[in-house]
Amino acid sequence: MDDVLQIEPLAGRRFAATGIALEPAPFCERFSLRAGPEEVAEVGKEIGIALPVKPKSSKTLKKISALWLGPDEWLIMAAPETGLSAKMSKLDGTLCSAVDVSHRNTAIYVEGPNALAVLNAGCPQNLSLTAFPKGACSRTIIGKSEIILLRESPERFRVECWRSFSDYVWNFLVDAGKSAQI
């Protein structure tokens, strides 16, 4: 039945203020990938992207992004047309665990000269370009919610959170966006 609708939790929301714009990211496929140190190379080969092993780092290749979240944990993301699901479904469970979490998370783009100030209203990490350069990613906190933060460019961040937290995270970013200008 192709009339079943997919409804993203933040569909239709927009916000902009001085130096800041918020926008829900389009739907993408996401997998929580877990593998031990011995299997990292082989798993990476299977999905066609060498998994980053440096803490707080990410890698994007052929429109597939791999975010280091922990020593045996990555978030793999790609647009639906990339065919990520097919690749992941071929992974052998003796090597790793690949679990579809496409619908568990949703994401918000935070962009503008005040992006850092907006995020630092609730995120306690040092987000300066030296400490958190382009491509850096980390699971962390904003306000009272857990998020995954990815810096796509100096002034553009992707904030991933669980779907039921997304209303809170959005509202927090809006509140912070209004007060970011010093």
Partner: protein, 989 residues
């Protein structure tokens, strides 16, 4: 704001001060309209308008005036209002900037400031000594509630709290920098500039509107060949222009926490007449700094003498600030009483600015000759080696009585203001909060920073610098730079602490140590005589240094007097602990964004909006909003729940179970891990089948439960309770990571990946059948799981039941949840499908005797207590809790066991939590043998049903017990926990 050259007070000094006088702004003081200039504080504006009397003291209601020009102000504590909702009590008039339309009011007076009935306390002062409340309100005990407490409540606390909700918003900012400079006086500015020029990331903050610290009160000093305040302006401008520097004025560093975290409170709009409503009123900064440069300066001390608290007695530096920065004269005949050089310069400035100095009294017999010479040049009378022993004047000082150190030459001098200085107290608050150690500088009567506990350096006045040159040297040393040149500066040499003059032995002595708390020198002495030997005890007994003072003004005098009385040295007594906040911080700043809808996270499911549209009432379960019930027009909760329960048993119900916790356990060691975490055996669970699992803690008590489905040899779909999901995952990760790190198994939370739609009831299969693809429903027995498609989208279809009916739980990817729900609803509604909420779910499961962890268990219930022994793998050699279950108390006779209860009157519904006794006529206290855990009206049973934990419950089937309530005991009969379909025929249908 009016653009005019209208006067903003009669006491403005011509050609003095740094305020822009092009425009005046108007405000009210106790309802009277007054003018001020942009940049005035309320204190400077009141003084400009000739108002010295600003409040009544806390205990004695003595008239009090403005003592200081900064945050240390103990007297001029006022109420500031913007409108009825935006009103704040206990604001220091010396900090609050005047804005157009501001309404300022005095506090602690009734009915009026100049005539206050509470002032009789002043006359009765001798009868309100230190510890008065402790001594007086002790007996009889019966007086407490109706006599003492109301009296104390009325007398306690200054100001009145606003009654409306705070409409303002507040913000937070986490920040990181190489160097945080707390304090924007000369040392702080020089250090910030030097560090920023070296490329360090720098945050400079100062509590005042204008940078410069004490330089603002100075009109003589030169730095780098220019007037000091010009140097300040250009340095601050340079810092503001640098990308690596953040400059924050009106920002107080109020707390120093572990690992160089310093909290700042930035006042964003309190000085603005018509602030942008989007702007936060205040912003909390949580700064993590590589190095903290503490440049918090020093606070001038008052002197202790009889009558030292009259209005128009003021710190010398404050008078100098009012004259030189605000251009305000504090009097026309000013007395000076000092022990310190700096007050002489203040006197000269005032004298030259049209406030003639009547007399300079210095406690020291030897005063630097250049000061004496300058006084002589200006024709000012001086009395070195003298002291002030009394003052007069009711609402403003009118004279001071001076005598020589030996008591001779007593003379009364008429004055209309008195400026005082007992020397300077370095502001070591922040340093002390950082747990750094202080050392006593006996030569100058003060505590100075000593050993550091955090990565911080004290510079300038707080480090003991007594001249501008010393302060700039400190800044240079701290930053490895060259000090700025300076000239024409005074010094802060000279001090007096702990000496009190006047009626020292008299009960009527009014030599105040702590103005705000009305603590006098004699109170300190009395406290020591009454056995308070520790300074911490003296502080609490007398209340000296408490409230907003926090040791700013009162500390050194109180300490020195206590030391003298104890016959010990000051360093042996030590200081009371300095605590954050340095100055009061609003609750708004502390909670910042966490108000209104950001107070806490509200989690909703993908189906929430449908439930809202269909009139659902929600209940909070943790952070979740869950559908409680769906009332139809005219239905109350009970009617709705009855209908929902009946419909589910007779046709079918549809329920949003999306909040259930879900964990995917994957890997070759998955089954081994499941064996460890749950009591049940898992090896033989076939792929495609489900099992109800029980999880214990190591102590043997039930921790969580849920249905687990095996998707593959190496993959389990585990469900947990809604509230238990995060802690269950944490518990699992703990064992996996720290006890069995070599096992090849991984855990992933999928709670929010899946929307879960439960369809339960005899028509469940009929309703869902047309949507199911790639799954043979006829080959799905109770407790099975299949992967396939539902409504064309990927599904994990489980045949499970928490109702005792034929039931399915349809897992679909969350974004499809609402749409799939609507498809089922569209088809099911004509067949009698009824949406039900958590209340009906609770009733339906209780009818079947299914427990809810956390409701029928409380962390002290074992599987056997809950009749779940069958779920323990008897042949297993290990699982979490296996040893705990063998503990003596857990296998003892007489444990509370879960049973059903039926009230003898079937219409009576028991209260959950009610206690159960055998004999309701036994004497009180009765022996309670258990309590009700779940209780409902069951429409399907046509009577009330309940579950209870009762001692030896299973052995008491059919026994009559009693539930004592306020209106008499309710008789109940113990029964099995299953009230409906005990052989499970509906379930397996």
């Amino acid at each position: 704001m009016s653009i005019s050259s209208a006067s903003a007070g009669a006491n403005r000094i011509k050609n003095r001060g740094r305020l822009n006088r092009a425009r005046t702004i108007s405000f009210t003081w106790d309802g009277k309209s007054l003018n001020a200039y942009d940049g005035d504080t309320l204190a400077s504006a009141l003084l400009a308008n000739g108002i010295h009397l600003t409040g009544r003291s806390f205990k004695y209601h003595r008239p009090r005036g403005i003592l200081s020009a900064g945050p240390e102000e103990p007297n001029a504590i006022v109420d500031i209002a913007r409108d009825t909702a935006r009103r704040q009590p206990n604001v220091r008039a010396t900090v609050q900037e005047v804005f157009d339309g501001m309404q300022a009011n005095s506090q602690n007076r009734f009915p009026a400031l100049i005539f206050d009935v509470g002032a009789v306390n002043d006359f009765f002062g001798p009868f309100i000594p230190a510890g008065f409340y402790y001594k007086t309100f002790m007996w009889p005990a019966s007086f407490w509630k109706h006599v003492y407490e109301p009296f104390i409540r009325r007398a306690a606390g200054l100001g009145t709290a606003p009654t409306e909700a705070d409409p303002d918003t507040y913000a937070n900012r986490y920040a990181h920098c190489d160097v945080l400079v707390a304090g924007g006086g000369p040392a702080g500015i020089a250090a910030a500039l030097a560090a920023a020029r070296k490329g360090k990331s720098v945050i400079l903050c100062d509590e005042n509107a204008d940078f410069g610290g004490h330089l603002r009160a100075d009109i003589h000093a030169q730095i780098d060949g220019q007037p000091a305040m010009d140097w300040v302006a250009s340095a601050v401008a340079e810092l503001r222009s640098l990308d690596n520097a953040t400059v924050l004025n009106r920002t107080t560093a109020f707390g120093y926490y572990t690992a160089n975290m310093v909290a700042l409170a930035e006042r964003v709009t309190d000085h603005i007449a018509d602030p942008d409503p989007e702007l936060p009123r205040e912003r909390l900064w949580q700064v993590r700094a590589g190095t903290v440069l503490i440049a918090t300066g020093a606070i001038e001390r008052h002197l202790v003498f009889h009558g030292n608290d009259r209005p128009a007695v003021m710190l010398a530096s404050a008078a100098q600030m009012f004259a030189n920065h605000f251009g305000v004269s504090i009097g026309k005949r000013v007395g000076v009483y000092t022990a310190c050089d700096s007050a002489w310069q203040a006197a000269f400035d005032l004298h030259e600015a049209g406030s003639p100095i009547a007399l300079i009294v210095d406690t020291r017999s030897e005063v630097p000759s250049q000061l004496l010479a300058k006084a002589n040049d200006l024709g000012i009378a001086v009395k070195p080696g003298h002291k002030v022993t009394a003052t007069s004047g009711r609402l403003r000082i009118s004279s001071m009585t001076v005598e020589a150190e030996n008591g001779h030459g007593k003379e009364k001098t008429p004055i209309d203001a008195l400026i005082v200085s007992g020397g300077w107290t370095p502001s070591v608050h922040l340093f002390s909060q950082s747990r750094g150690r202080l050392k006593f500088d006996a030569d100058n009567g003060r505590f100075l920073p000593d050993e550091v506990a955090e990565n911080c350096i004290c510079i300038g006045g707080c480090n003991g610098a007594m001249t501008l040159a010393d302060a700039l040297d400190d800044a240079a040393n701290a930053t490895g730079s060259k000090p700025a040149n300076c000239e024409e500066t005074g010094s802060m040499v000279g001090y007096q602490i702990g000496t009190s003059n006047g009626k020292t032995d008299s009960a009527f002595d009014k030599s105040f140590i702590d103005f705000q708390n009305d603590v006098t020198a004699k109170d300190i002495r009395l406290a020591v005589r009454e056995g308070m030997l520790s300074i911490e005890h003296v502080k609490r007994y007398t209340t000296t240094g408490m409230a907003t003072d926090q040791g700013k003004m009162s500390n050194m005098h109180g300490l020195a007097i206590a030391a003298t009385e104890l016959g010990r040295e000051i360093p042996d007594i030590g200081l009371t602990t300095f605590r954050a906040p340095y100055t009061p911080v609003t609750f708004g700043t502390i909670i910042n964004h966490a108000k209104g809808k950001l107070f806490d996270v509200t989690r909703t499911t993908p189906i929430h909006s449908w439930a809202q549209e269909h009139g659902a009432v929600f209940e909070d379960v943790g952070n979740w909003k869950r559908t409680w019930y769906f009332p139809k027009p005219g239905e109350d909760m009970q009617a709705a729940v009855n209908r929902e329960c009946a419909a589910t048993r007779n046709a079918a119900g549809i329920f949003d179970a999306s909040t259930l916790g879900k964990i995917e356990v994957v890997g070759p060691d998955a089954v081994k891990f499941m064996e460890l975490m749950y009591t049940n055996p898992w090896q033989k669970l076939a792929v495609g089948r489900c099992r109800y699992g029980i999880m214990l803690r190591e102590d043997g008590f039930i921790y969580d439960d849920g249905v687990v489905g095996r998707l593959a040899e190496d993959r389990f779909h585990v469900t947990t309770t809604t509230g238990g999901a995060p802690r269950v995952l944490n518990h699992m990760e703990d064992y996996l990571q720290t006890e069995f790190p070599d096992w090849k198994v991984w855990l992933t939370s999928t709670s929010e990946q899946w929307a879960v739609i439960a369809v339960q009831g005899p028509k469940a299969r009929e309703i869902i059948e047309p949507f199911v693809e790639d799954i043979d429903l006829d080959d799905m027995p109770h407790m099975s799981i299949r992967e396939g498609r539902f409504c064309g989208v990927r599904t994990r279809l489980m045949r499970v039941s928490f109702t005792g009916e034929l039931g399915f739980e349809i897992n679909v990817p969350a974004n499809y949840g609402r749409s799939v729900w609507e498809k089922i609803w569209e088809r099911g509604e004509p067949l009698g499908l009824t949406p039900y909420g958590t209340e009906a779910m609770h009733v339906l499961r209780a009818e079947k005797g299914f427990i809810i962890v956390g409701q029928d268990t409380d962390g002290t219930v074992t599987p056997d207590d809950a009749n779940l022994s069958w779920a323990i793998g008897k042949k297993k050699t290990d699982f979490v809790g296996i040893r705990g279950l063998k503990r003596i108390d857990l296998v003892a006779e007489g444990r509370r066991q879960l049973v059903g209860l039926k009230t003898l009157d079937p219409r009576e519904v028991l209260e959950e939590g009610a206690q159960i006794v055998e004999d309701p006529h036994q004497p009180i206290p009765m022996k309670m043998i258990g309590f009700v855990t779940s209780s409902y009206w069951s429409e399907n049973c046509g009577r009330s049903i309940a579950l209870a934990l009762i001692e030896n419950g299973r052995a008491q089937m059919g026994e009559k017990l009693h539930v004592p309530m306020a209106n008499g005991a309710i008789a109940v009969e113990v029964c099995e926990t299953v009230f409906i379909d005990p052989d499970g025929s509906k379930l397996n249908g």
